[in-house]
């Protein structure tokens, strides 16, 4: 496209003002800025026309002018940055217990963790498709049994639950007095 636009000093100033302003520039603000004899409407009409076919346009937003990326280009510029969430510690522990002890009831999870399991935590695991009900236990009250899903395997890059390290390998001294968690490095068995 061939754009032949004559840029007057007033247009330059309007252009710079709209560019630098931290809020949309109103006709009144521009009238204060431009020389007294300048026709704000005419200046802006010319300026908007000059930017019409360009990568950025002048849009009227909130009663003033501001520069905006041309709508057809925004998709190219839009960068989607993945910022994955982490599971809270409680959820991670519960998930680990379900993975190792499935099928397991909520009460059993609480016994193993030695702490109550909140509905929020269970909901979080359910929402993310990591656990699912696996029938009921034939004991009084018939509590729901929980187990992991294929999505759980996919998240951790496992083909099979048997690829989880054995409990015995992990829990060398499960009832032992050592309460300090082991260093991360010792647990990092999967190359990332």
């Amino acid at each position: 496209m061939d754009l032949t636009v004559e840029f007057t000093p007033a247009m330059r100033l309007a252009e710079a003002a709209i560019f630098a302003a931290t809020q949309p520039v109103t006709p009144r603000m521009l009238a204060n800025l431009l020389p007294e004899d300048a026709d704000v409407d005419a200046v802006m009409a010319a300026l908007r026309q000059a930017y019409e076919q360009r990568g950025v346009n002048i849009a009227v937003i909130g009663g003033g002018w501001q520069f905006r990326t041309a709508p057809d280009l925004a998709p190219f510029l839009r960068k989607v940055v993945e910022l994955p969430r982490r599971l809270p510690r409680v959820a991670m522990e519960s998930l680990a217990i379900i993975a190792y002890h499935q099928p397991v009831t909520r009460t059993e999870i609480e016994e193993i963790r030695g702490a109550a399991l909140s509905q929020n935590t269970l909901d979080l695991l359910l929402e993310n498709g990591l656990v699912t009900p696996k029938g009921r236990k034939e004991t009084p009250g018939r509590p729901t049994l929980w187990g992991t899903t294929p999505a759980f395997l996919a998240q951790f890059g496992l083909n099979d639950l048997r690829e989880l390290p054995k409990r015995e390998e992990l829990l060398i001294d499960p009832a032992g007095p050592a309460l300090t968690p082991p260093r991360e490095a010792e647990l990092r068995m999967e190359p990332e």
């Binding site: 809020q23 989607v80 982490r86 963790r113 030695g114 390290p165 009832a175 309460l179 990332e192």
Partner: protein, 252 residues
């Protein structure tokens, strides 16, 4: 001209940021390239300023006096070079000159920077930037290491709590001992040591000690009811038990 400058400087000594600042000002007043400046002349001017200042008011900041003392030394060396070590004063003069040049260069650099169109003053960035970046927080970040350490933490915590639970009793109880002693008592004709009433296959340590005490309690209980006699001949000696001979009497 130099004298006029000096007099003016005496009055506004506090306007300087320190001795080096004043020295540079004096050097610039010589209107020659700093590389060719006369250090001796500079030193004399500085000392004149300090002397003038001391006439006006006695107290002067320590750094002024330190510099004055050092420059007095430098002056004497420059005027009367010491035999055998002529380079001393020259090196000192060179260092002073280099420092003045360095400060001068930085002054000019600051001036050069100040003359640049500065952002936010002379040139402006876009006032309303557009945020075209989208954050996708839909995915979960899960790592095997995290899962395993969470599992370990949960198990260890629960394991820690278990220590407070009462351990199940697996020891030889008093009830067991009562039955066993009652059963065996008739088959033993005379005094028998307490150990002979213990069950077989006891582990050494706590289980054995528990069984001994249970059996002793059972023996005491039965002796109270007159069903057996207990005897210990010496402290820590073997405890002996036998069936009561006068089982009908009340003198046991």
């Amino acid at each position: 001209m130099v004298l006029e400058t000096t007099e003016a400087l005496v009055l506004k000594l506090e306007g300087f940021e320190g001795p080096l600042d004043l020295l540079l000002e004096l050097a610039r007043a010589q209107k020659v390239d700093l590389a060719k400046i006369s250090i001796l002349q500079l030193v004399e001017q500085f000392l004149a300023v300090i002397e003038g200042a001391r006439n006006v008011r006695l107290e002067l900041a320590a750094d002024w006096l330190v510099m004055a003392a050092w420059l007095t030394w430098l002056k004497s060396r420059l005027l009367v070079p010491q035999f055998g070590e002529p380079e001393d004063a020259e090196i000192a003069a060179d260092i002073l000159q280099a420092r003045l040049m360095d400060l001068q260069a930085m002054r000019e650099a600051a001036k050069w920077m100040g003359a640049r169109p500065q952002l936010g003053w002379d040139v402006f960035e876009r006032g309303i930037p557009e945020e075209l970046t989208e954050l996708d927080r839909s995915r979960l970040k899960l790592e095997m290491a995290g899962l395993l350490s969470a599992y370990l933490a949960a198990r260890r915590r629960a394991g820690g709590k278990q220590q407070y639970r009462p351990k199940p009793m697996v020891y030889f109880s008093v009830q067991d001992a009562l039955q066993r002693v009652a059963r065996l008592l008739g088959s033993l004709p005379d005094w028998a040591s307490l150990e002979q009433f213990l069950p077989e296959g006891l582990e050494d340590g706590t289980p054995r000690r528990a069984a001994i005490s249970s059996t002793l309690i059972a023996g005491l209980e039965m002796a109270k009811h007159g069903r057996l006699d207990l005897r210990q001949d010496e402290k820590f000696g073997p405890i002996l038990m036998r069936q009561t001979k006068e089982s009908d009497g009340f003198d046991g």
